[in-house]
Amino acid sequence: MAIGETIRNSQIWKSIFRHPMPLDRRNRIVVMLTNFFLHLHPVSIKKQGIALSFTWCMGGVTFFLFLVETVTGVLLMFYYRPTLEWAYNDILALRDVTSLGVLRELHRWGAHAMVITTWLHMYRVFLTGSYKPPREFNWVIGVILLLLTLLLSFTGYLLPWDQLAIWAITVGSNMARASPLLGYEGPGQQLLTIGGIDMITDGSDARFGLLGARFVGEETLNRFYVLHCIAIPLAVALLLAIHFWRVRKDGGISGPL
């Protein structure tokens, strides 16, 4: 008996995989229904729904890149300490000393690629009119995911703590200073004055809330690190689950009626 067959007939194998090998039609159906990772998919699908010329596989690629970012990100967290003393030196070490320093390249280029594939995915969904009923709300979730993708990339941009990082974040977050009413240089903030005391100052406005300080400093590094590694990924994971679930519930990949 072949060794493969012995393994597949063993008690251990059978306890892990709840189905026989998907070699015939029946088991190809069973595998989709009984495997946790595959049950995201339907059992059968219209041929045009999986044509690469139709979907560009962009949603799938974006999700795959999210997984790549998660794995490389967790590994990078072993090496990187988000403090003024260590942040830059740890990245320097990743570049020059650490053997798996290429993880940082994978993470950074993966992040850029994820922003691009998100846009291309939305582009495809627009051009095929797939946001139309009954998929309106899933498009809305997609827009929030786009926003979170950009925020993930933006918060991660600060972590190397080099000139490129802090000035990009400074330029970006300076916008918050001009928020109407809530930024201390924004229009109308003069109106929020109680008894001659300004409520909106550079120590209490929208930018202060974002940075945790009056300028990009250690508090910002810590704040962005937590947002980047925990808060935003959790939100993305939840919304992704809903996004995928809605794809199925709203009738699968779109197509002409």
Binding site: L38, R95, E105, Y123, L127, K132, Q163, N174, A178, F215
Partner: protein, 441 residues
Amino acid sequence: MHSNGLFLKDVAGFLGSYYTGLAIMNAVAALVLWKRKHRVGDAILWSCVAGALMILASLAMSGSPTWVPHLPEWLRKLVNTLSGPVNYTAGTTLLFVGAFVFRKFFVKPMVAWTVFNAALLLMGLAMADENFASIVMKPDNVPIVGLVFLLAFFTWVATKQAVENDERIAQGLPPLEKENDEKVLVWPDLVYTELICMVGVAAFLLAWALLLPAPLEEPASSVKTPNPSKAPWYFLGLQEMLVYFDPWYAGVALPSMVVFGLMAMPYLDFNKKGNGYYSINERKFAYLTWQFGFLELWITLIILGTFLRGPNWNFFGPFEYWSPYKVEVLNNVDLPQMFWVNLLNRPLPRVASDAPWYAQVGTILLREAPGLLIMAAYLFLLPPLLAVTVFRKYFAKMGFVRYLVMINLMLLMLSLPLKMVLRWTLNLKYLISIPEFSLNF
């Protein structure tokens, strides 16, 4: 740039492999044309192109200023002189309009392949210029070059299918996607496609990571401001808008409206056609609005902000050295100044700072009356006017609330190109300028 003479030697290897890559690409295309499509003539043509590219590759490898293929000096100078925000925006707009109007021509595979090759060749020739290469090859700018080519490719893929579908629909046939609606099992058809995609993307990412080191500049210093200071590349369209608007609008209000508008889109688009297949003719208004917003106002502004804005956010041609000493004349004028001083020849309305509050507010309102009236007309007069003229059918179908949301989003979107044109033609700085409340528009 003050060249050290070593630049061409440095990029020789890269340019050589670049042209070799293009040659291989064309050789594969020729092979496909010959074996699969049995079009011998075309196959010979593209083999010749591949051969020519191999010659370019060997020339590029030499690293000598006389032999490396490059754009002539006078042409680069001409491009630099001609480029500026006005010509850039007009040029890209013209390009998109042309591509759209003649889409039936451009979607032909041979035409598209020729354009693609021409673009890549131009890119290679330009790369032999030190100033061009120093910007384009900045590690964080490489993804944008990729984005441009990916967008061009996928726009072609989508337009090709849309043109085909539009022709079929005109003949009373269902869209192509309908022909392909037999069901297949997800295992193996989809699962294997996903696996291959994953392996492909992983291989691509790994190659990218191994070949291009991630940028790491000097340690952060809050006292040494780099010039120019730029936001991450995906926000550079917004940073470019700061040329025309104050941060509260360009950086806060307008981006929020973009997000809101994207979310509102499926509820505003009442057109039931074009759901689930590529089509242009069945949803022309939605299509053109989207493409204008995405390609013209988002992507081309990112490219402008990344590649063409240098020190002090001055505009630089693609082959120009980013000199921090370049001076641009700033003679922009606010509308109140234009109206009261230049037109009526009298001073701006003024009031003593200890006057009662209503006198202060009244003076501001009087001073800003021209701008306020224009804005009021734009935001409150135009929507009903359009509802009974251009958008009459839309108004009838959408109802009051939807129409109101749609028209306001459209007007806000158009505020950017309108302000650009006003800046270029009249040197207008602000329509409304109320420094008392930090409100400039």
